[in-house]
Symmetry: C2
Subunit: 298 residues, 2 copies
């Protein structure tokens, strides 16, 4: 059990992780840091953290585990800023939706630190990238709850040259919050998230944008029915967060859009050609694949 | 109030319309016909209809209003088969999701009937195309309920050369079922439905099909979260019904897919170029358009 855990960024995910640690007694002390001091005060008032530090240095000082829980794009900058301040014994992890850009930032910062002769250091803190597959339509520390991760999956993408003890500690962190931890390579994580989450968001945003710019847009929105509401729900997501995710996961996302585009083109051509057999086969295969997915999710 | 109304096809929509007419007392007698005699017997047992006729001729005989409530593609064939059997006083309407192909079938059949000197007829029954924007995840006569259309919109696409009395009768039919009736040109209806319903179905089918054929498909379905479930719900729709709708609404649907494809391409290029400003603007516009839509739906 670590003595002190520092969580940087007290939004829905960071706040919920703090609450889960306090509830399970995972650490002696759960310390929060947020660039927005008001959020930190609120977290303290709500009992989300044991202590709030307005200074990043104070938050990091003496921590055995540091969790970067800022928005996706900020995470890479925060990682660079934090890594140079940490002793080699501290374990660093994060919760961002994209992992490749963070791993690249870590490797680059570590190499720069190790190459800098003016720094007298014993080593660089190990990094265990993590991504809890959990969320809510709500955001912010006031939406945080200790059971957010219960029975949800957390994907860790440990570096090939990583530290086994560090990995074990981050595993215990999430298991103590009730999550099921799985490991996979970074590239696989980013490709899977591009396909299952980032691509559907792009499609929903593109659809609503296309329809709102159509000359029939008034009638389109007037006559849209329930299925449309469900289908476009994710187009109500935070534009800045999704901009950041799209930028952080650029190449896998472009690949996923292109793969999708080929399948859409095939269906489009089947409609144009009146090829009923191909349409029915594709629709039936898709229905059966989705039903397998639903069964699997239970 | 008409004496006899005949409903051809006792599925969810046809069955619910029968129940609504019986509940409101819209007609003296609600007679059902279905190619599947078992469905007809069930409809009678469930109290959906006053009477079930196993013969199409008997069902039509003496009806003041005939409602074609078969699946979309079958509707055009049924219209051709029925029109020649109807006296000019009977009013013909339908409930299919696509209107252009039915209007074409009506005009063609009417022209053929009028040109046939061997038929001694006074005229051809007027046709008022209709489309209730209502449905359910369930289908079949056992899912039918009298309030299915309450507070839902029904779009009528009357022919320019149509019969005002016929239109008034079909309006009263739906108003008596609690629906709000609106009128628009056939081409506008089909373009709106292509955009708001048929295109989203094609996108959901294409997405699930693309993901299920990916080399990562096992993991993709394993790690997909709640948003994916919502987004792909409509990919569990009936493949034959959607094949028929896609074939019936070919040109407007291809147009809608192509419009969408241009917007998707623009987003794809913005991701590839790392153009954060364009991504954020498009996402923000889409979110605000969707929120206006949700407010409007109340």
């Amino acid at each position: 059990m670590p003595g002190k855990v520092a969580v940087l960024g007290l939004g829905l995910i960071g706040g919920s992780l703090c609450r889960a640690m306090r509830a399970s007694g995972f650490a002696d002390e759960v310390v929060g840091y947020d660039r927005d001091g008001g959020v930190g005060e609120l977290a303290l008032d709500l009992g989300v953290v044991d202590r709030f530090e307005a200074s990043l240095e104070h938050a990091l000082s003496g921590a055995e585990l540091v969790v970067i829980a800022t928005p996706t794009l900020a995470a890479a900058d925060v990682l660079g800023e934090v890594l140079i301040k940490l002793p080699a014994e501290t374990v660093l992890t994060d919760v961002a939706s994209v992992k490749g850009n963070l791993v690249a930032a870590y490797r680059q910062t570590r190499a720069a630190i190790l190459a800098d002769d003016t720094l007298s250091i014993s080593g660089v803190a190990p990094f265990v990238p993590g991504h809890p597959i959990a969320g809510s339509e709500r955001s912010g520390v006031d939406a945080s709850r200790p059971e957010l991760f219960e029975s949800h999956r957390v994907i860790l993408t440990p570096l090939g040259d990583g530290d086994a003890d560090a990995l074990a500690l981050v595993r215990r962190l999430w298991e103590s919050a009730g999550a099921e931890v799985v490991e996979m390579p970074v590239a696989q994580h980013d490709a899977i998230l591009a396909a299952t989450s980032h691509l559907p968001h792009i499609l929903a945003f593109a659809l609503v944008d296309a329809l709102s710019r159509s000359e029939l847009s008034d009638d389109i929105f007037r006559f849209a029915a329930g299925g449309f509401r469900d289908f476009t729900r994710i187009a109500s997501s935070n534009p800045v967060m999704w901009r950041d995710i799209a930028l952080a996961n650029r190449e896998p996302l472009v690949q996923a859009i292109d793969d999708f585009g080929e399948h859409l083109k095939a269906l489009r051509d089947a409609v144009a050609a009146g090829n009923g057999a191909e349409l029915e086969n594709t629709f039936a295969d898709a229905r059966s694949a989705r039903e397998d997915f639903i069964k699997q999710q239970g």
